[in-house]
Amino acid sequence: MESGKAVIRARPWAVACFLLPALVLLGALVIYPIGYSIQRSLFDASGDTFVGLDNFQEIFSNDSIRHALRNNLIWIVVAPTVATGLGLIFAVLTERIRWATAFKLVVFMPMAISMLAAGIIFRLVYEQDPDRGVANAMLTTVHDTFSGTSTWPDAQPRPDGPLTVQDDGSYLLEQPVTAGTPVLLPLVAVPQPELSDAEPAATAATDPGQVTGTVWMDFTRGGAGAEGVIDPEEKALSGITVEAVRDGEVVAAAKTGDDGTFSLPAEADGAQLRLASDSFTAPYNGAEWLGPDLITPAIIGAYVWMWSGFAMVLIAAGLASVPRETLEAARVDGANEWQVFRRITVPLLGPVLGVVLVTLMINVLKIFDLVYIIAPSSSQADANVLALQLYLSSFGTGADQGVGSAIAVLLLLLVVPVMIVNLRRLRRENKR
């Protein structure tokens, strides 16, 4: 230290010479752009008129920018926490397993993929159609394992027909039925190819002691048939449960046969007929990942997939320097594994966890690529974040670089506190 100060005093020009290249680079690439952005944020779209703080007022009054700000808050709270938490779990668990290195490699691998590529991958993962999107393929598989699929998911009554759709998805015939008169229960909208194996529908037998009827697809292929009549080529809908309901109670039930007919015992006389909903439940289509409600959590999921590996590697490095003796001592004192983890490992890892969290926070504030790529344009507004809004405001059509610069300044202001925390910590650690 002493000699350094001597040099500065003796030859200031030499010091200046050595510092100059770094200062020029820093000035040209960092200081000047920041200064220019701040200046630009005080001018209007054309850059000619000074507008003071109007651009900042615009930021806080414009709905889409406010939405972006709110999303950024969600991001900065959720994404680093979840990524660090997962990283911690992975790091602690991999300490114990034999294939630790292989496991770490796999978890870390997404870091090697660019944000753009990861965005494209997850755009596909979150596709609505279970045949294309992995996320929904998993959801539907799990769902269908537990609840099974229905036989005629597409069958529906005509909007002006005798049957009406109930809230629970069943179809009700309002008119009470009488024994001895065959009932017609027409449904439509079953795709023609699904009917290729079905048998032709038959008119039910007339039996004074029974309530009989037919459930069928009331549409002749080619469109020749009449509504509400069993035309010769119309197909039967088999396996549908027909319930007779009186005062809300099911008094009798039967399934339709291969020719679409059913017969209920005499108790059904005077009751209402209802087609049970389990035959018509639309197939579960998975979650609407890319819709307005789930889009932000979905993109955060993609981010966590990428960055928990990063957190894991840093934490694992910190874990390696945790003194074994302390852990052993705790165990000898009778602490169980959970207590060791809670009371010893996590506190000792505190500084590392802090570094990881802060790094991820800074990283999350400037998140752009994933949001830009994953969100389809119809829900882009719901997924909006500041960095994306900055881009859209500055470079889209009808660009206003004044507002864009104002957003950039706002982002800078948001990063500064996190930076200060980081610098303080660094200084403290250097002193130690």
Partner: protein, 457 residues
């Protein structure tokens, strides 16, 4: 520049040539598959100067098959004039591309501009040169006044619309129509009935690519044009009437008969909002036996998507009918297209640029271009036999027969911030409407506030 005597001599020669060509084409009609090179030497409808040693750079948005087809036209130009040409894809934002190139001092010689608004902007900047006599002559012979005016700014002719798109088409799966036993409808009411019959027969009637806002603007434009007429359409495009006008309410109410019924759209409104335009085509034609949807609405370029990503054969599995007329109005014809302009920051087009524009405006070029398919020309005097199949020919004929009763895509005429930007303006306004079709008033108020911002009043 050119002596008028020489001009009239040329005109006389060309008139004679035109007669000969008509005769020749009648004889050789349908022989269109032969290579173009020397075959057409006797069928010249445009006299081109000798341009040996000159080079022209042409820029357009086309890539892939569209680029290949256009290169055939350039090859013929090279063969006839001795000039050399090169082609540069410009990317989607033509105005940015040209602006950068001019700033850099090496602009392309001829550029294809898709929007009339951008063409006017170029003219105001003084980037493009007015057309000369040679081009004007081709324009007068082959183009209606309406198509000429689209390439003009402030009464000066700058460009030639060489490629057109007919945006008033509904493509349908013949299998689905067979299942339901329905015929292509001619009026909107028929169309809605047909949709319900298709639904009863078990096929979802419509596939709507609502994730791309521009498909929704085309829906609106067709309905508005047929229901309220061309005059109102022009006034709305110029924002002389507000978007809160009753005519807009009527159009949205009509559109709501479709958008308000989840059963009529594949995936319902929510599914439609996540469907990109190419997916809206593939889900209609991918599975030929049980299509996900029976009909999909969009321009003739749907044909390219069908050919590229499905096994459907246009004319057999995939057919097309014109957008139905609404409320007893005429059949709407909404079009789009690309105009060729000569870039000349010094205000004067070179002989080679003139020659290329004239050639592109000629029937010869249109016929060569039409042969491989995927191209519709606004050229009214070209031989329709040049189109490769009946579907393409039908689309082209519908466009030509409309004469000047067509309207250019409304959203392309508005400022880009209103008519062409994701997440705002007309795109977002109509997506909001699709998400919530009950709220017509809310949609109109949003559109009007966005329009007021974009037009700057």
């Amino acid at each position: 520049m050119r002596g008028s005597g020489r001009d009239s001599r040329r005109r006389a020669f060309r008139a004679a040539a035109a007669v000969t060509v008509t005769a020749a084409l009648t004889l050789t009609a349908c022989g269109g598959d032969e290579d173009t090179g020397g075959q057409r030497s006797g069928e010249v409808t445009v006299e081109l100067p000798d341009l040996s040693g000159q080079h022209l750079e042409v820029a357009a948005v086309w890539t892939g098959a569209e680029q290949e087809n256009f290169l055939r036209v350039l090859d013929e130009f090279e063969a006839r004039t001795g000039a050399t040409t090169s082609y540069v894809p410009s990317g989607d934002n033509v105005s940015q591309f040209v602006g950068t190139k001019i700033a850099g001092g090496s602009p392309p010689d001829v550029v294809m501009v898709p929007q009339p608004g951008v063409l006017r902007e170029f003219a105001e900047n003084g980037w493009i040169a007015p057309v000369g006599d040679l081009v004007q002559e081709q324009l007068d012979r082959n183009y209606t006044q309406g198509w000429q005016d689209l390439g003009a700014a402030d009464g000066v002719q700058y460009g030639v619309y060489v490629k057109a798109a007919n945006k008033s088409l509904i493509w349908y799966s013949t299998a689905a129509f067979d299942y339901a036993g329905v015929q292509p409808p001619e009026t909107w009411d028929d169309f809605v009935d047909t949709a319900w019959t298709l639904w009863e027969s078990g096929t979802t009637p419509m596939s709507v690519g609502g994730a791309d806002g521009w498909t929704l603007t085309d829906w609106f434009e067709n309905i508005y044009l047929s229901e309220s007429g061309g005059e109102m359409y022009d006034r709305l495009a110029a924002h002389e009437i507000p978007w809160t006008d009753q005519s807009v309410t009527d159009a949205l109410t009509t559109l709501g008969q479709l958008f308000g019924e989840d059963r009529l759209m594949e995936g319902g409104a929510d599914g439609a909002l996540q469907t990109l335009f190419p997916d809206s085509v593939t889900q209609t034609f991918l599975d030929l036996d049980s299509p996900d949807a029976a009909m999909v609405f969009e321009a003739d370029f749907v044909g390219a998507n069908i050919t590229d990503s499905t096994d459907a054969v246009i004319g057999e599995d995939a057919q097309v009918f014109p957008f139905p007329s609404v409320d007893g109005g005429p059949l709407p014809v909404v079009s789009a297209g690309d105009a060729a302009v000569a870039i000349a920051p010094d205000g004067e087009a070179s002989e080679a640029q003139e020659a290329l524009l004239a050639f592109l405006a000629s029937s010869d070029a249109a016929e060569i271009w039409a042969e491989p398919g995927g191209f519709i020309s606004p050229n009214k005097s070209m031989n329709m036999d040049a189109y490769p199949n009946d579907v393409q020919r039908g689309i082209a004929e519908a466009l030509i027969e409309a004469g000047d009763d067509f309207r250019f895509d409304l959203s392309d005429q508005t400022p880009a911030a209103f008519g062409g930007t994701t997440g705002q303006g007309m795109w977002q306004g109509l997506q909001n409407f699709l998400r919530n079709p009950e709220d017509i008033q809310g949609a109109q108020e949003y559109l009007e506030s966005q329009a007021a911002d974009a037009y700057g009043d």
